[in-house]
């Protein structure tokens, strides 16, 4: 092969190229809105960014590993409580405890994941649900350690005392780094292995890949990033509640991934933006906002199973065709 050939061939491999043409303007838009908007808008943006990271970590499992988890909030909650309890019970300085949250979540992912990947499909999903319910119950019931249903509050100044805008900027930086890392993982040889097992574990095994081991690695990575999201969320509110690990957050994540678009990396990000905006604005106008959400989900599942990312890809293709 000539040098030129090799270069074009290399370009075809699924490596993680970042199209800064999109990323830089997107970051600029977020920063500009944050700069101009009210503090409540900044807080909403912060929540959207945190949920975008959470949904993207779930999306790694769903879109690429084809593992549907009904218990991903467990790792959001473990992140939040890992951070909070390290401060409250462990006496760890909050700045250091920031690292504890994600690590606790990853550890939880390792323990629960090892159990869950023994089964596949709906049985896998049921195990993830069971693990999340166990987590929730422990957080809810163990008053002496976790504070039980009243959660833990007042242990730190929310946002480390940063202004809403300041914290939004910090979260933007962390979430951007995490999303870039996730993108790098999806496109790496590890990501290729995760996709291989997701698409046909039988085939992957015949090639020499231990399917369970690959799934476990994916599970731990997803748990880690969910833990980062949980930690950021806990800092935002200066609190941790059992609901952080509850079914509600799990469902939020699942709905975001479906709305945003399965089988697309951007799906989790779009989904978080659309879902949070809908939840905020539609619920102000219409009391039965869940009804609207239900209709939107119906429409997506029936008419656009690839979600928003799929629709926008189709639009781009159409526009490209016209030009």
């Amino acid at each position: 092969m000539t040098g030129q050939d090799l270069k074009t061939w290399r370009a075809k491999v699924a490596r993680a190229t970042v199209s800064w043409r999109f990323v830089v303007p997107a970051l600029a838009v977020v920063l500009a809105i944050n700069w101009m908007a009210s503090t409540s808008t900044s807080t909403m943006m912060t929540e959207i960014m945190i949920m975008a990271l959470f949904a993207s970590s779930l999306n790694l499992l769903m879109s690429f590993g084809h593992m549907v988890s009904f218990g991903h909030a467990a790792y959001f909650g473990l992140g939040a409580y890992g951070f909070t309890l390290a401060v409250v019970r462990g006496g760890v300085p909050p700045e250091l405890a920031l690292a504890v949250g994600p690590l606790v979540a990853a550890l939880g992912g390792l323990v629960f994941g090892a159990l869950c990947v023994r089964l596949t499909q709906i049985y896998f999903a049921m195990l993830t649900l069971a693990c999340a319910q166990i987590t929730y119950t422990v957080l809810f019931q163990w008053y002496d350690f976790t504070g039980g249903d009243t959660g833990i509050t007042g242990f730190m100044i929310p946002r480390f005392g940063l202004s809403e805008k300041g914290y939004a900027t910090a979260v933007l930086a962390v979430v951007t780094l995490c999303l870039l890392a996730l993108w790098g993982i999806v496109k790496s040889p590890l990501g290729l292995s995760i996709r291989a097992v997701g698409q046909d574990r039988y085939r992957a095994e015949a090639l020499g890949l231990g399917a369970r081991r690959v799934q476990l690695v994916a599970f731990v990575i997803a748990a880690f990033f969910a833990g980062v999201a949980g930690t950021l969320y806990s800092v935002l509110h200066g609190a941790a509640f059992p609901d952080y690990a509850g079914l509600g957050i799990t469902l939020d994540g699942l709905i975001m991934v479906v709305i945003g678009g399965l089988n697309s990396f951007a799906g989790g990000i779009w989904g978080a933006i659309i879902y949070e905006l809908l939840a905020t604005f539609v619920s102000k106008v219409i009391h039965e906002w869940e009804l609207v959400l239900g209709l939107i989900l119906l429409a997506i599942c029936l008419a656009a199973p690839a979600g928003f990312a799929g629709v926008s890809a189709r639009l781009r293709a159409m526009l490209g065709g016209i030009r």
């Binding site: 092969m1 050939d5 090799l6 061939w9 290399r10 075809k12 491999v13 699924a14 490596r15 993680a16 790098g184 993982i185 790496s188 040889p189 590890l190 290729l192 292995s193 996709r195 291989a196 698409q199 046909d200 039988y202 085939r203 992957a204 095994e205 015949a206 090639l207 020499g208 890949l209 231990g210 399917a211 690959v214 690695v217 089988n263």
Partner: protein
């Protein structure tokens, strides 16, 4: 010579249905062995037994002197067993290039790597293999868009990525034209001989079998009906009655 593979009293039941009754035979190293028989004879089941992809198989499967029946498929792949599937199972939502790259990455044990260098170090071999199987100009296409014949070719290349000692091909030429069939199988035979591999292939096209196989096993309803050189098999009355005479479904 010591056989590379020897099946001893292999039995496999799907529920109450017995798909393999009592299969015993040896495959010497370097042999090109065809497995033929009417639909439902148990050929694919037997291939899956060797590759370690079926639960509840009884008997012994000795590969390179070791009973492999209880080993997981990924371990068997590492020990040198490679296979393709009757219905292509290339990864549907990946490009041809990604499929082949995945095969090479997995074969080298670098599946957990986060470094693009793992790709760079293999791109030449991936390209060469795609050339070999005639898919270099389709590298960017998604497998879902390929013809069945092209998927079979891809499968074959992926199975070769790990450079297996024992290559199991389940109907590698299904969905190809007659010309393509002979072309592919001649290439397979050449490659198998050149690299000292052993080949077991399931094939319905009797002309291909006669040309490529050194020995043939005829299976009918989960049992071995006859075994021998292609010429012996062609002359065998029982085989004629059951298989060759009655067409091949």
């Amino acid at each position: 010579m010591q056989p590379i593979l020897s099946a001893r009293h292999i039995r496999k039941a799907y529920g109450a249905f017995i798909a393999l009754k009592d299969i015993s035979f040896d495959i010497p190293k370097g042999e090109r062995h065809a497995l033929i028989g009417p639909n439902g004879a148990g050929k694919s089941t037997f291939i899956a037994c060797i590759a370690g992809q079926l639960p509840g198989v009884e008997g012994e499967m000795i590969f390179k002197g070791e009973n492999i029946l209880s080993l997981p498929p990924a371990r068997l792949a590492k020990k040198g067993i490679g296979r393709t599937f009757q219905i292509s199972r290339a990864f549907l939502h990946m490009s041809v290039l990604e499929n082949m790259m995945a095969a090479y990455v997995i074969a080298s044990g670098r599946w957990a790597s986060l470094s693009d260098r793992v790709y760079d170090e293999r791109i030449d071999r991936v390209h060469a293999m795609l050339e070999t199987v005639g898919l270099a100009d389709r590298a960017k296409d998604v497998v879902a868009d390929l013809s069945l014949g092209d998927r079979k070719r891809l499968e074959f290349g992926m199975a070769l990525a790990a450079d297996p000692d024992l290559l199991l091909l389940d109907e590698p030429t299904a969905g190809m034209s007659i010309k393509e069939r002979h072309f592919l199988m001649e290439m397979v035979a050449e490659r198998v001989d050149a690299t000292g591999k052993t080949l077991i292939f399931v094939e319905h096209d009797i002309d291909v079998v006669m040309k490529i196989a050194r020995r043939v096993t005829v299976m009918v309803r989960g049992a071995i009906l006859a075994q021998g050189s292609p010429e012996d098999i062609k002359a065998n009355d029982a085989v004629q009655a059951v298989y060759l005479g009655g067409g091949h479904g």
